[in-house]
Amino acid sequence: MVNELTRRQAVILTATAAASSALNIRRSSADGAKVAETIFHNGTILTMVDATPRVAAIAVANGRIIALGDETSVMALKGDATTIVDLQGATLLPSFIDAHGHFMNAPQILGWVNVQGVPAGPVRTIPDVIAALEAYKAKNNPKPGDWIIGYGYDMTNFAEGRNMTRGDLDPSFPDNPVMLIHSSNHGCVLNSAGFKAVGMDASTKTPPGGLILREPDSNEPAGLIMETAFLPIFAKMPQPSEDEMLARLDAAQQIYAMKGVTTCQEGATHAGDLDFLRKGAEQGLFYLDIISLPLFVEVPKMVTEYFPSFNAAGGAVPPEAASAFGTYKNRLKLGGIKFACDGSPQGKTAFWSKPLLTPGPSGEANWRGQPLFPPELINKAVAEAVSKNIPVFAHCNGDAAIDMMIDALRQAGVKAEQDRRSVIVHSQFMRPDQLDSYVELGITPSFFTAHAFFWGDIHLENLGQERAFFLSPMKSAQGKGIRFSNHNDFSVTPLEPMRMTQTAMDRLSRKGVVIGPDERVDVWTALKALTIDAAFQIREEKDKGTLETGKLADLVILEADPTTTDVEKISTIEVVETFKEGKSVYKRKAA
């Protein structure tokens, strides 16, 4: 039966191919694009178009989608040189858009060892940390005295339930200073070579606001140092050279491509970072799209650098600079100006209108966080961006920070009908009434549902059920007709589109609490937040986000169909292959 079917299909395929190649001769003289370079079929193809969610086949040429639909009509575009990709039951969909993250962290962490806990990293025990560091050492052969740096250290990941000490590290690393950066980025563990390298010993006083754990019965530093004891040391760590960083750009893009992401965001760009990204672009080192959002406080510096004759006082932007936004040049695009109104909720530096239930970061009572900038400063810079038609992206986690940005946009005269698509990044702890302001002003949130998994239990403790359960309120936003994206804030959490999908659907914390059962969304909505709605947010929906004729062939093949996979397994779905404009940029090695 199977054989017979296959044979019959083969006959049809051959016949169609013959017919179409005859047609192609005629077509190619009239319209060169109408011969497929690649046709994908024999799997699940999710278009992310509501009206026609699934098709049987899709044809690609010159980096764009030239046809999709049933097998016969698509195969009609097969030419002699057409590559036919047999999906073998795998699932093809538009590749993912990184709606918010920090691309510049990618080349940085590539020089470091991941010592994060499972699932962000490989660590469950202290020996796991040693093993990860040893693997790095074996691979990179550092010279004696060269630093070995790990990131994501957190004793709460260890089965041992204790901090690491220099004694844990010294036997394996007698000659290399080792620094394990704490997951908060506010501290580290050093080995003996590390303490020697930074000049810290028994005679070092613990500075106010700092911590130096000491060995029992002596004043020798034991390993962990935090806050004011750490920050001066970290600021003096050797930095990779620009050439080293440029050489890492391929591997940096692979972090994205291997997860099916082909549009990456550098979502808080400093002036120096922009110089670096421009250099990478000029040297043709990008094969994925990179969107840079210059930080508003750095804009005067950038304007002075690129437009030396313009008076950048007060944050003014010249018209020529404004026109530099919105178009790709060598795969690098300035997407908008990035504002920031507060810090992070897990660090308790977000800005809320009502106090937390727990003390502040330094033990403060009635702590509700603080704004990062005076509202007058934000209002002025937002008004300048709006007047120059530069898109606004604003980091706001707490509801008071969100109020600040709503005020700023309203004062700048923003209205929904202007279709500005101002993005409030995170929109993590909104109040329900703020969704109405989003509708009124045409604000589109980029949510961060992975918080439910990574910090949901902590948010519950700090904020109580009502506020914690309304984190990243996707379902309520959807009910108001608001379009939203979802992000990982790489490298705050690892880049995992499938975990984003799952957390948008189940909102399960590590302890198994559903953080807001009413805010769970269906799989289609969860996927749209990574594709078409993310494309809408960055004004690229004409080119990206769905499979439709004329759009870019930015595609991902997943080993399983997330729309039919059990929710709890979605985060484990792996990427088989990723395409940027029809070209393969990542292919999973055969098992």
Binding site: P208, T228, P232, A235, P371
Partner: protein, 296 residues
């Protein structure tokens, strides 16, 4: 090596912090002052005064320097501390929503002696600012964390309003000395204490340079005692002076240890007494120079 004293300038946006910074960088005080600022663009230094400018650091011909905090406090402070010429003082301009008391801790990461927290207040707008739903709490903390409050833009409000604001400050920020200023024109001797304990050697002259000055509403006076004073009495005196002085400084002839000199340094209600070497024979006597409000 001794480390320069560390001064924090706090206060909300628009209060006059940057104007103050410009004074510190350019006034003819003869000190090498390093100022760390958030926004380089706002610092307004005559081009003729700029000796070099490398993006994040600006060096002035008069020996002062200005560093941007763009890349963080640690980078900026390293740029200052790694210079060949030692600076006489480091001043940080806190951001408009920063709590200066927290910024003061930054200096302690580098063992810099804290010289003082100066909070600049806009006489016209402070009452509104403390009521603002976003920044009101921070502005209140800025007042309470000050050693000295500069009630600035005093020339922009009517005398009656100024009196009201002073009265209000006395209850909102009790016991913190207040100096009225216009265009942040505070005398350097009030802003900077000149030398932390490490610099207290017998060669350093102890006089404040300003005396009573009718343009400004402050004066200096000297407290002298020829007989030794007990430590407890000194502490009582310092506590009493509290809100009545901006700064006090001088050597103490301490009853508990008459062989050695002790140095008292006080800013507002905060003081330290530290040992400062042996007395030159026969010179042991207490002499504290105070600078405070004229009616103090």
């Amino acid at each position: 090596m001794s480390l320069p004293p560390f001064t924090v300038i706090g206060g909300y946006l628009g209060a006059g912090k940057t104007t103050l910074v410009n004074h510190l960088l350019t006034a003819a005080h003869g000190l090498r002052i390093a100022v760390l600022v958030n926004d380089f663009g706002e610092v307004n230094v005559d081009a003729a005064l700029i000796a070099s400018h490398d993006g994040d650091t600006m060096s002035l011909a008069n020996g002062c320097m200005c560093c941007s905090l763009t890349n963080g406090f640690a980078q900026a402070i390293n740029a200052v501390l790694e210079r060949k010429t030692q600076m006489d003082a480091i001043v940080i301009e806190a951001s408009g929503v920063a709590e200066p008391g927290r910024i003061a801790q930054y200096g302690q990461m580098y063992d810099l002696p804290l010289d003082g927290v100066i909070t600049v207040v806009d006489a016209e707008r402070i009452r509104d600012q403390v009521e603002n739903k976003y920044v009101g709490e921070v502005v209140k903390h800025q007042l309470l964390q000050a050693d000295i409050i500069l009630l600035n833009k005093s020339d922009c409000v009517a005398a009656e309003t100024l009196g009201d604001v002073r009265g209000w400050l006395a209850s909102a920020a009790p016991r913190i000395p207040v100096l009225e200023t216009a265009r942040s024109n505070a005398p350097l001797d009030i802003l900077i204490g000149r030398g932390g304990s490490q610099q207290a050697t017998p060669d350093v002259p102890l006089r404040f340079t300003t005396t009573t000055n009718h343009e400004f509403l402050h004066q200096t006076w000297v407290i002298r005692r020829n007989t030794p004073i007990k430590r407890a009495a000194i502490s009582r005196l310092a506590k009493q002076m509290g809100s009545r002085i901006f700064r006090a400084k001088g050597f103490i002839n301490l009853a508990e240890d008459p062989e050695r000199r002790y140095l008292l340094q006080q800013v507002g209600q905060r003081w330290v007494i530290e040992e400062a070497g042996l007395w030159v024979s026969g010179a042991a006597r207490t002499e504290i120079v105070c600078i405070g409000p004229r009616n103090g």
